[in-house]
């Protein structure tokens, strides 16, 4: 029986709805990790029927040798299956045909895995293409008149006019006007965003729709090079380059394949010689040798390698992050230093009133009352939070002040705001300003003020002093509220060896206090673009990889310098071009997700490689006795699985080898689970699951397949 609606009584009031930041930019619930994928990344089940259909056809098309040759491991399988096919034609038999068919299926399954991964991207690209459908632009001519032209003929530097209801024809910068724009086609976020000329919110994306007002846009990208075009290319994986790590792994796999070739080929002369030694029939069947080769080479990882890479990019897209290259995703997994902007990432973004500190004999309620009056007309988030706090603490409601009052807005000159009600003048503002005001009104400054102001400032808060005429009432504490859960998240990051650095324009005192509260490892106070840049270079100089997020044009150099630079979609074009990822949600905590995806990508590759190689043990025990029992009957003791016959043993191993690819496709597409713990515990876990598990699992399944084959009575 929980008491419903009972507000938690305590010193820190929960900021309620009144304090939501103004027309927010890509306002996502900042720290809700399991976000429902939206927009570009429509949630698709792993086996969406449409993708399955496309993938099935795609896997057949990929049988072409010129495609296969790019994957050395699977190419060997294909060649092997051609060899057994020839053998099956020359010496037909159920066994050789069965092996041939299953070898072809192995290649087909590998293609299917890749086609599945690509299919998900293709489906997303199709959605995007619909947005790009031919639009008409209203090009502004030199004399101020307009002409209607197809969007495809627009050149860089052309000026176009967009009014409510128009689709923006191409990427550009607003040169005049302000408009609300629906960017849901790109970001999936249905709330409109404000775009205006000048400053950091001037970039617009082709394909988005103007909802209100009129803007003039200077085109910055021609057809084929727009953001949307690049996005389509990226999600389709059309020109996907192999990443450095993928290349290294491919080399290892190719070398393994290369070494198993002689290992298997020499068995022919070895067997023949054993035959001579024992005066028996020692020759080894080519079909079995090919089967052994295919079972030994790392087909599992070879088949799934490119699917893993494509799926990794895809997972990022589902988090609404577009990576310009796979290299950047991989680098994200290695990041050791994260530069995070304080505002919006670590704190909620606005200062909130959290405490009334009366000075002298003033009661807290009197202070709250005056502060509330002074803030009634203050529409800033800070002002509203004061009203909310007064209500929460003392139940002071909003009231009608009658006719006889004048609100005094904040000005940079006075650094105060307030209200005049009749003869009463209530002011709130910076300590220095209010102090001067009180003195000018003929009052005195009480002794406790300096101490209170300094105490709050040292705690990282902003003290706001309130005076009623000549009487100084006290101080309101305005505090940066650190996001809930962010501290734990930083702890996780620390556990995996990532250092977090908070970047803020605040003075060092405030910065230190917030840094401590949020649990970041370090902070850069009074940050300027130059100092950010210096910090990045210093970190890189000591051998660390740095990731940062930014949106402004002045962030562009730092974004380019960072190893992983995530530009916010709301940011300027310059920022977007400088970074190597774009976050469509413009949510600064995304950086952490990006790191996770990067790590997951590598872990999935490593784990499946281990699994693939570990599988070989069981396959050896299935095939070697089958291969040589004719020569050395005693080797049947190695048949520890008790497989029915040499033929069923070999076929079981081949079937297992093929089916395991299909079975692991979901894992390859989803990625191996990553938990933020120490490197050793991750390794121990994965070695156990994929190494030890990889040794045991095939023993069980090869035996099961053998039982099934035996039951058919054919082998």
């Amino acid at each position: 029986m929980a008491p419903a609606g009972a507000a938690g009584a305590g010193a820190t009031p929960a900021p309620s709805t009144g304090a939501t930041p103004a027309p927010s930019i890509g306002a996502t619930p900042a720290l809700a990790p399991p976000q429902a994928p939206r927009g570009v990344a429509q949630a698709r089940s792993l086996f969406d029927p449409e993708i399955l259909r496309v993938a099935l056809w795609g896997s057949v098309k990929k049988m072409a040798p010129q495609v296969q040759v790019k994957n050395p491991v699977m190419f060997v399988v294909l060649v092997g299956s051609v060899v057994t096919l020839a053998e099956a034609i020359v010496h037909p038999g159920l066994f050789s045909w069965s092996i041939t068919i299953w070898l072809f299926l192995t290649v087909l399954f590998a293609n299917f895995a890749e086609a599945m991964a690509e299919g998900r991207g293709k489906a997303q690209a199709d959605t995007l293409r619909r947005t790009r459908a031919e639009t008409e632009a209203r090009r502004l001519l030199g004399d101020g008149s307009e002409e209607r032209v197809p969007a495809s003929v627009l050149k860089r530097g052309d000026l176009v006019v967009c009014e409510a209801g128009d689709v923006i024809p191409s990427d550009g910068e607003i040169t005049a006007g302000v408009a609300s724009v629906d960017e849901s086609a790109i970001t999936g976020e249905s709330a409109p965003v404000i775009r205006e000329s000048g400053g950091d919110r001037s970039a617009v994306t082709g394909g988005t729709k103007v909802l209100s007002d009129r803007i003039v846009v200077s085109i910055v990208a021609e057809r084929g090079q727009t953001f949307l075009d690049r996005m389509i290319g990226l999600v389709e994986g059309a020109n996907r380059q192999k990443t450095p790590n993928e290349i290294a792994l491919t080399i290892l796999l190719a070398t393994l394949t290369l070494v198993f070739l002689p290992v298997v080929v020499v068995l022919e002369p070895f067997g023949r010689y054993a035959g001579t030694l024992t005066h028996s029939h020692g020759s080894v069947s080519v079909v079995v040798l090919v089967a052994l080769l295919v079972c030994l080479i790392p087909t599992t990882i070879g088949a799934l390698l490119s699917a893993i890479g494509i799926a990794g990019m895809d997972r990022l897209v589902q988090k609404n992050v577009l990576a310009m290259s796979g290299r950047a995703v991989e680098a994200a997994g290695d990041v050791q230093t994260l530069l995070l902007d304080k505002t919006g990432t670590i704190t909620l973004g606005n200062r909130m009133a959290t405490q009334f500190v009366p000075i002298g004999d003033v009661s807290e309620q009197d202070l709250a009352d005056a502060a509330q009056l002074a803030s009634l007309a203050d529409e800033t988030p800070e002002g509203r939070s004061i009203v909310v706090l007064a209500k929460d603490r003392f139940g002071i409601r909003e009231r009608d002040l009658g006719e006889d009052h004048v609100f005094v807005p904040f000005s940079a000159l006075t650094r105060m705001s307030g209200v005049d009600i009749g003869s009463r003048s209530i002011r709130k503002g910076a300590a220095e300003a209010v102090r001067k005001w009180v003195i000018s009104e003929g009052g005195t400054v009480p002794a406790g003020l300096d101490e209170a102001v300094e105490r709050l400032a040292r705690a990282g808060s902003t003290p706001l002093v309130v005076a009623d005429g000549a009487r100084l009432l006290g101080v309101i504490e305005l505090k940066d509220v650190v996001k809930e859960g962010i501290k734990e998240r930083f702890e996780h990051l620390r556990a995996v060896g990532i250092r977090t650095v908070m970047i803020t324009g605040d003075n060092p005192l405030t910065a230190a206090a917030i840094a401590q509260e949020a649990g970041v490892d370090d902070y850069l106070a009074e940050a300027t673009p130059e100092r950010k840049m210096e910090l990045i270079k210093a970190e890189q100089g000591s051998g660390k990889l740095v990731a940062m997020m930014g949106d402004g044009t002045n962030d562009a150099p730092a974004l380019a310098q960072a190893d992983v630079g995530v530009a916010m979609n709301t940011g300027t074009t310059a920022a977007k071009e400088a970074g190597n990822m774009v976050d469509l949600d413009s949510n600064p905590t995304k950086l952490i997700d990006v790191v996770e995806v990067g790590k997951q990508l590598l872990i999935t590759r490593g784990s499946l490689t281990t699994f693939s190689i570990a599988n070989d043990v069981a396959k050896y025990f299935a095939i070697i006795p089958a291969l040589f029992t004719a020569t050395y009957p005693q080797l049947s003791r190695l048949n520890i699985m008790g497989l029915h016959s040499p033929k069923s043993a070999v076929l079981s191993a081949v079937i297992f080898n093929a089916l395991v690819i299909i079975a692991l496709i979901p894992l390859a597409l989803r990625g191996v689970k990553w938990r933020p713990t120490s490197a050793s515990s991750i390794l121990r876990r994965n070695v156990l699951i994929y190494g030890v598990g990889g040794v045991i699992v095939p023993f069980i399944f090869i035996k099961l397949i053998d039982l099934f084959l035996t039951a058919t009575g054919w082998y």
Binding site: N245, A248, P262, R272, Y273, A274, G606, F628, N686
Partner: protein, 562 residues
């Protein structure tokens, strides 16, 4: 001394060698120990080398190849011309070309595969000027390569990896010569023969027989044979000849000398990269495999010999005593032979051929793991570093980071060089064995029938491609076919690994370092040790399982389960 105390003493001696010889070698190669500078200088002047100038890896490798090529040529020529050279009291004639080639390659590659009986083939001059000299310098070459590779890890953004000439000269002057010289006195003092006089003829009046007893400058050759993990003995019986291994003390000293440099180099490695735990981790991986194999082979040799049991003439409470060094018993013989097969030494104090199938399997597979446990001087360290790189690569991927080892990123190039280096040996062994079993000249080699014949051929190529040099015996190796093919195996097993290692050293040296963090994959933990062992066993197992199942496994299983 009981077997138990032999083991305890060995562990103590090796621990001391690890700590002190290891740190001494670091100082030698860093150029901080220079008490022989007066002797170094004239050598540099003679070969025209400026010891201050370092070499990039290509020049380092070039110098090494030239040096080894010259070594092969000189060793070959001395053998061919020994009839006209001094110190030949037995008036032995020229060594036949194929055998001379095989022997020249064998000693220049630190293999010491011997297709001859020393006392009846090589003059004293050949033994001393050709073979013993190579036992020093080929060991120095191996150590130099290991040091150059480790420099790659230790250095940051460096274009060079040291100077080959300086490294081998310092290694010889400061490490090999002093230890071998001191140990030589022990051998001679214990009764190893040391003379330039010819054979002695003894008449045994009791039995009415006449015996010719071979002698020679053996005592001072013996230490470097073991210390340099060479293994090439003066006499055909190698360590089983009392003139080579006269007492229990020298037997113990032999085992200790075999193991001391490979073990100590792991300390040198740790010190050079600034973290001793890294060296200790590699040593632990080596020791665990070594210990397991000693245990396994000892157990196997403790079993009665089935043929002897069938004859039912003697009790076999000591296990299989066939072919054992009866003075030291089956356990110490096994320890000696396992030490020698797992260090690429190849000297023996018992007949490998007469081991039980599983005992022989232990010796054979010890080599098949790549001679890294602890392996030959230098070669053990540089080869296990290749395995470590592969372990780091796979392990690094599994924790979600671009793998790095000792602060160096392991990328495509490193993986390429390391996997090439690791796989060249198995491929060489398998392909050459396949050739041998396919042609009449090869099939003529083995003297036994059944799977044992196959084991003999497989063993020969495994031993040569690993630069081990131990022989399974039973194989008539002194034929043109085996001499030439064996030479090829030895060359590939040596230089096809050394060159990638040096290239790796060069690539790594040129790299900057990555900062370490809590997310870095630690390479000094039991987990990593396990991973390295896993990679070594898996690579060895996957490449050789079919082959050994046709040899020792088939042989053993025919006699029932082990």
């Amino acid at each position: 001394m009981s077997y138990f105390w032999v083991i305890v003493a060995l562990v103590v001696v090796l621990a001391l060698a690890w700590r002190f010889l290891g740190s001494y070698m670091e100082a030698v190669f860093a150029g901080r120990v220079r008490f022989f500078a007066w002797a170094e200088r004239p050598v540099y002047r003679l070969i025209g080398v400026d010891p201050e100038v370092e070499q990039p890896w290509q020049r380092y490798a070039g110098a090494l190849i030239v040096f080894s090529g010259m070594a092969i040529l000189f060793t070959y020529l001395i053998q061919r011309l020994q009839g006209s050279l001094p110190l030949n009291p037995q008036h032995l004639g020229a060594v036949p070309p194929a055998l001379a080639w095989n022997t020249a390659v064998s000693f220049a590659t630190n293999t010491n595969w011997q297709n001859y009986a020393g006392e009846t083939t090589m003059s004293y001059f050949t033994q001393m000027a050709a073979l013993t000299v190579q036992q020093f310098v080929s060991a120095a070459v191996g150590i130099a390569v290991a040091i150059a590779l480790v420099r790659g890890f230790a250095r940051r953004n460096s274009p060079t990896i040291g100077n080959f000439w300086v490294d081998i000269i310092r290694c010889t002057f400061y490490v090999l010569l002093p230890i071998a010289f001191l140990a030589g006195f022990v051998f001679v003092g214990e009764g190893a023969v040391q003379t330039l006089a010819g054979t002695v003829t003894v008449h045994d009046f009791l039995n009415g027989t006449t015996q010719v007893i071979a002698r020679g400058p053996v005592g001072f050759m013996e230490p470097i044979k073991q210390l340099g993990t060479n293994g090439g003995g003066f006499f055909n019986a190698n360590g089983a000849d009392p003139f080579e291994d006269p007492s229990a003390l020298t037997n113990f000293l032999s085992i200790a000398l075999i193991l001391c440099i490979p073990v100590a180099l792991t300390y040198t490695f740790g010190k050079m990269v600034g973290n001793r735990r890294q060296g200790a981790a590699l040593l632990a991986a080596m020791a665990i495999i070594f210990g397991t194999w000693v245990g396994f082979s000892s157990y196997a040799e403790h079993q009665p010999n089935p043929a002897v049991a069938a004859a039912n003439v003697v009790s076999q409470h000591q296990g299989n005593m066939v072919g054992k060094e009866v003075r030291f018993g089956s356990m110490q013989t096994t320890l000696y032979n396992v030490s020698s097969t797992q260090t690429s030494t190849g000297s023996v104090s018992g007949a490998n051929d007469s081991f039980t199938p599983m005992g022989g399997f232990g010796l054979l597979t010890g080599m098949m793991l790549g001679e890294v446990t602890p392996g030959g001087v230098g070669s053990g360290l540089y080869t296990i570093l290749l395995f470590a790189i592969i372990a780091v690569f796979i392990g690094g991927l599994m924790i979600g980071r671009t793998p790095e080892y000792l602060g160096k990123k392991i990328q495509a190039k490193e993986v390429k060089l390391a996997s090439f280096g690791v796989l060249v040996m198995p491929i060489t062994v398998l392909v050459l064995t396949a050739v041998a079993v396919s042609v009449p000249a090869g099939r003529a080699g083995p003297s036994n029938a059944g799977p044992h014949a196959f084991s003999e051929i497989l063993y020969a190529f495994t031993s040569q491609a690993n630069n081990n040099g131990s022989a399974f015996a039973g194989l008539s190796g002194d034929t043109a076919f085996y001499n030439i093919l064996g030479g090829v195996a030895m060359l590939l097993g040596r230089f096809a690994i050394i060159v990638p290692c040096l290239a790796l050293g060069g690539t790594l040296a040129a790299k900057g370092a990555v900062a370490e963090s809590a997310g870095t994959f630690r390479t000094d933990t039991p987990l990593f040790i396990g991973l390295v062992i896993g990679v070594i066993i898996i690579v060895g197992g996957l490449t050789f399982f079919p082959a050994v199942s046709l040899g020792p496994i088939a042989e053993q299983l025919s006699k029932g389960l082990f």
